[in-house]
């Protein structure tokens, strides 16, 4: 339950919206770039839930997510004067969010905390890299994953995601979590379109294989 004082503050902040088109995001971004703090506060209000979801899907740790979300908006505020509007504001914000989350994940402490046998298909672009997978496909029988109840599948999935390489978690979070197109993901992460495609394919295949192993 939101304390009364907090509700009052949030209501007052929403009431601060200027009468001259303050709800239009492009206008808010323009004003925020000019140094209008209230416009930026409004952008925070509009985007904080989405940033929270994206970062959480990558970090899967509540307290770390709270920290990183705050860092994201502080970083965005400091750099918004350099935002040229070549992409959507949300894409730009997602770039900051995924970068901060990736930085967090890549710290040494995170690597030590991860399971000793990380789930990781080789980052290998050679044509033979999928040979094993292809052989498995020719075997008869449906995937054990198909027989799993939704709840059981979810439980296995949650554990398997933690084993994914950080770069793969990012594309999954943006694609399956936020529904972004490959092009927007490439823009947000500043990677090639082909890299988005291959990382997503590997991430999903690895998750599938991990869940199937747990389900057997």
């Amino acid at each position: 339950m939101v304390p009364a004082v907090l509700r009052g503050i949030l209501a007052a902040m929403r009431a601060m919206t200027p009468p001259d088109g303050g709800t239009d995001e492009d206008e808010l971004v323009r004003r925020a770039r000019d140094g209008d703090r209230r416009a930026f506060d409004r952008l925070v209000h509009l985007h904080v839930p989405q940033v929270w979801a994206t970062v959480w899907r990558m970090l899967r740790h509540r307290e770390d997510t709270e920290d990183v979300v705050q860092d994201v908006f502080v970083t965005a505020h400091r750099s918004i004067s350099g935002f040229r509007g070549e992409s959507k504001f949300s894409t730009w914000l997602h770039r900051i969010a995924t970068t901060r989350a990736l930085n967090h994940l890549e710290r040494a402490e995170e690597k030590l905390r991860r399971a000793s046998t990380p789930l990781e298909a080789e980052e290998d672009d050679r044509p033979g890299a999928t040979a094993v997978g292809a052989a498995a496909l020719t075997a008869s029988g449906a995937s054990p994953l198909q027989a799993l109840e939704a709840k059981e599948l979810m439980n296995h999935l949650v554990e398997c995601v933690k084993l994914l390489p950080v770069a793969w978690r990012a594309v999954l979070a943006l694609r399956d979590g936020e529904g972004m197109s490959y092009e927007r993901i490439a823009e947000a992460l500043r990677i090639e379109l082909g890299t988005v495609r291959s990382r997503l394919a590997r991430a999903r295949t690895s998750l599938k294989d991990c869940v199937e192993r747990r389900a057997v």
Binding site: V5, V44, R57, E63, H77, S143, R197, A201
Partner: protein, 341 residues
């Protein structure tokens, strides 16, 4: 002969699922799927994985996260404010943090903290040291739990300011340049409100066991580490303007000195400051040491409030009796020790 290497388009099933294949690629996969049950099963499995990931519930965002974000922006507002042409910060929280930095330096040298220049409320002028940015990660002192108790037992005379007035309908760039002192004060008041409000919101457990103070979640847990690293000093400043006129009619010395056992000194001093501000008092001096000594000054008419709030915070040895004599203020000394010392 298969049109795919190794006979199956395994690397294309994922983009096929997302409708991200080129037209001819998609057609080729369609042809293959019509003939390959294994690939159809694989596609179905990938589909279930993608759906499950999308359906995975995301924990609810903390109710106070947005306010905490804005609070962080308040503290970081010194640098962005320079873009508007202001050479000094207008946020009261930022002013306190900046002046506190000066106090840190004096404290580290072992000197008692003297009250800094006390700006009048509403002024946009801050002391010269305010040019320094707030330490990274440092949050404004959280309001003490005593605030809740004071509100219950007696009406809080430190009125919260009203939210900002609606902005005039002018071009935003001009608005930023022409922001009046009143509007800047509104921004500062909004920042202070957020700072206060955070004290009403409980976060995780842990530190509250030591000091009985409210915990603000991750920020509060992070804050003691940052404060310890920075050897956060104390600030007398802002409320001094409220106390000074009262003290002009004389200073009484309290006969009973309090004793406060704290595990986290910087945090305890922040909480002490918050309580003092709430009752119109100020921290006159702090002498660090194995047993630190804090000297506080309270307006006489609010001495009872101070005693009740201090007791709630855990200060022992205070009697609810006014010192004898005439005087508008009471000076009291509190010995601060570590637990089990």
């Amino acid at each position: 002969m298969s049109e795919f290497a190794n006979g199956h388009p395994r690397d294309r099933l994922s983009p096929y699922l997302d409708d991200e294949l080129q037209v001819d690629e998609r057609a080729a996969v369609d042809r293959h799927l019509a003939l390959c049950p294994a690939c159809r099963d694989e596609l179905e499995a990938l589909h279930r994985i993608a759906e499950a990931f999308a359906d995975e519930p995301v924990p609810a965002m903390p109710d106070d996260l947005e306010v905490r974000v804005l609070h962080r922006l308040d503290l970081a507002s010194i640098a962005p404010m320079r873009r508007r042409g202001f050479a000094v910060p207008v946020s009261i929280a930022a002013t306190i943090a900046a002046v506190g930095l000066v106090s840190v330096l004096a404290w580290k040298q072992g000197r008692p903290i003297l009250p800094p220049h006390e700006p009048e409320l509403g002024s946009t002028v801050a002391p010269a040291p305010a040019q320094a940015p707030a330490p990274e990660g440092h949050d404004a002192p959280p309001p003490a739990r005593a605030m809740d108790k004071l509100a219950e037992s007696k009406k809080n005379e430190v009125a919260l300011d009203t939210p900002a007035a609606p902005q005039p309908a002018i071009e935003p760039r001009e608005l930023a340049k022409q922001q009046t002192i009143g509007e800047r004060q509104d921004d500062a008041d909004a920042a202070q409100e957020r700072s206060r409000a955070l004290g009403y919101v409980a976060g995780g457990a842990g530190d509250a066991k030591d000091t009985g103070a409210p915990v603000l979640g991750r920020d509060a847990r992070a804050k003691p580490r940052a404060a310890a690293k920075a050897d956060t000093g104390v600030v007398g400043g802002v409320a001094g303007a409220l106390v000074a006129p009262a003290c002009a009619s004389g200073m009484l010395e309290a006969s009973d000195n309090g004793r406060w056992s704290v595990a986290d000194l910087p945090r305890a001093l922040d909480e002490l400051q918050t309580v003092l501000r709430a009752v119109g008092g100020r921290l006159e001096a702090f002498e660090p040491g194995t047993a630190g000594f804090a000297t506080v000054v309270i307006p006489r008419e609010r001495y009872g409030e101070w005693i009740r709030a201090a007791k709630i915070q855990g200060v022992a040895g205070l009697a609810e009796t006014f010192p004898a004599g005439d005087g508008g203020c009471v000076r009291q000394r509190i010995t601060i020790v570590r637990p089990n010392s």
